[in-house]
Symmetry: C2
Subunit: 331 residues, 2 copies
């Protein structure tokens, strides 16, 4: 008998299968078929973006963030990578009987701070409570609406051969922080949880961006595989220049994990024409969230739908879409 496994919710291959074989089968329309992180909706005379995300991260508090902050920034980032300026969020709580009000208050405070910092507003909400043992203290859904000001609509379908692939800093910080926190691993592992909307607005105003995507669940391994398939291109990554902190490389080495498959919550993949790449790097390096920005690879015509990693010694390996998630409930 087929059952839902943790891997079905991990953003990898099995998630894709569930989407293709079940959700798309019954629910498909021109918006879902775009396959991006949110839907561009033509509301008479105006384009808005509408996106949704549920947050079930465990633990609820971790170095660098908590489920509340994550729920705000996560949906903001989904809107921002669609080219929208995030404006409005909805907030749906599923609370477990027995949750301490104090703990909920800390989370709500964190949500409020994240909203103030980014100028977005929670404009509607809902709360449900389930019995003890039918939840895990708190789950949060945020849905968001953003408006599109730019004529530039970045999309996973627009990566073109010759384009450079950029990222705004170190990869894997969020995944490592959750892992270390859960397993009581010593070390300075801090989530990169941050709102990308300002940095992205800067890029959209100044450089001809083709594709933007935040590599959260499944890391850049999942995100770049999605883009390679959406755009029908090959993606070549250069191992030596991919920014990953030394401690995270070590952690991944010990545990047999791939840092490229670790989640990020304050990173954006930027794909744009080669001639604009250096300008984009300069813009990012001048922003607090882009100090360690780097060009990490380029888009090729072939092999279509494939991501591969090259190193300076001529080594080459395919970077697969992660099957499931090493770390369930990462966000």
């Amino acid at each position: 008998m087929d059952i839902i496994t943790l891997a079905h919710g991990a953003g990898g291959r099995l998630t894709q299968k569930l989407i293709d074989n079940l959700f798309k089968k019954y629910l498909n329309n021109e918006y879902l078929a775009q396959g991006d992180d949110g839907a561009v909706l033509t509301i008479p005379k105006d384009k808005i973006v509408f996106s949704t995300d549920s947050f079930v991260v465990s633990p609820h508090f971790f170095p660098g963030g908590d489920i509340g902050k994550l729920a705000v920034y996560g949906t903001i980032n989904d809107l921002a990578v669609m080219g929208a300026k995030p404006l409005y969020l909805s907030l749906g709580f599923i609370l477990e009987e027995g949750l301490e009000i104090q703990e909920l208050e800390l989370i709500v405070q964190s949500i409020a701070r994240a909203c103030q910092e980014t100028g977005v507003k929670i404009v509607t909400g809902d709360t449900k409570v389930v019995e003890r043992g039918k939840g895990d203290k708190i789950y949060i859904n945020t849905s968001g609406i953003g408006v599109i000001n730019s004529s530039l609509l970045p999309s996973g379908r627009k990566a073109s051969p010759g384009d450079k692939i950029l990222v705004n800093g170190f990869l894997g910080d969020h995944g490592a922080a959750i892992l270390a926190s859960r397993e009581n691993i010593q070390g300075e592992f801090v989530s990169d949880c941050a709102p990308l909307s300002e940095l992205i607005e800067l890029l959209l105003k100044n450089v001809p961006v083709h594709t933007l995507r935040d590599p959260s669940r499944g890391g850049i391994a999942a995100t770049l595989n999605e883009i390679a398939k959406q755009s029908n291109v090959g993606i070549e990554l250069w191992e030596e220049v991919i920014p990953v902190r030394r401690e995270i490389r070590t952690l991944c080495g010990y545990l047999g994990l791939d840092p490229l498959a670790l989640a990020n919550e304050g990173k954006v993949i930027v794909i744009l024409p080669e001639e604009a790449a250096n300008d984009a790097i300069k813009l990012m390096k001048n922003h607090p969230l882009g100090k360690n920005a780097a060009i990490i690879g380029e888009v090729r015509e072939v092999p279509e739908g494939t991501v591969y990693l090259k190193n300076n010694f001529g080594g080459e390996r395919v970077v697969n879409m992660p099957l499931g998630e090493n770390l369930p409930r990462i966000c």
Copy 2:
């Protein structure tokens, strides 16, 4: 130590307290302060409505519906009572490890049917999976966007002394169906789960509606108390004319429940000037979802913020906001 109880999620007084003391404390803005079921958002040159609802109903399948259909109609109804034509929904799943794909498929089918019947589109989605024992098979969040065509913006703040209070049919059907299904009570108890958007559009086009509200969790007892407070008016109900099925009166009698506090999922409270009440009843009776429509009371100047029930023998009792919910996880 203060802890979250089931009553905090039941739509009654403790929910209100949580909203006032916690969510509004930290998150308040001009949209949340409106206190309606969704937020009216001024997107340059156009007004849209954005609403969110999580669904945790147990059992997932019940006479007259299932969690999928409920998740679509529930959010559609929230948009419709705000005066909007529902257009777009988001869909967020929190699935428990071990859920049978077949069961999920039935639910997704039901969602698809509900969308087809109403012409709304799921335009973005998200799936998370939690460990066995950290959920209850499936929880669903739907957020929705609707557009406002009419210049009439119904609101809980617009009920005026002299207005009549109408409902489109029998009350308590959903609550009774869930209760009977959960407790294996024999009888013909079927949920009224239905989309109200068409019926409401008809009303908005033809009669000067002041207030619309779908009395779901907490029944009309909760909804009318909310409206009485929002509009600062008294609400008088007439016991003999409130449509409640005989079997449900009997069930409530046995169990000590108030049918006015039972949930509905296909009912709308309509408040409008006396001179338009008969036209509204006629319109409703000509619609499949309004065959048993009735005028059930009227708005008074005093006692402010209070709902009370009168009967033909001169009896009178206050209808309180339900404290918690007799039936947790009703939607």
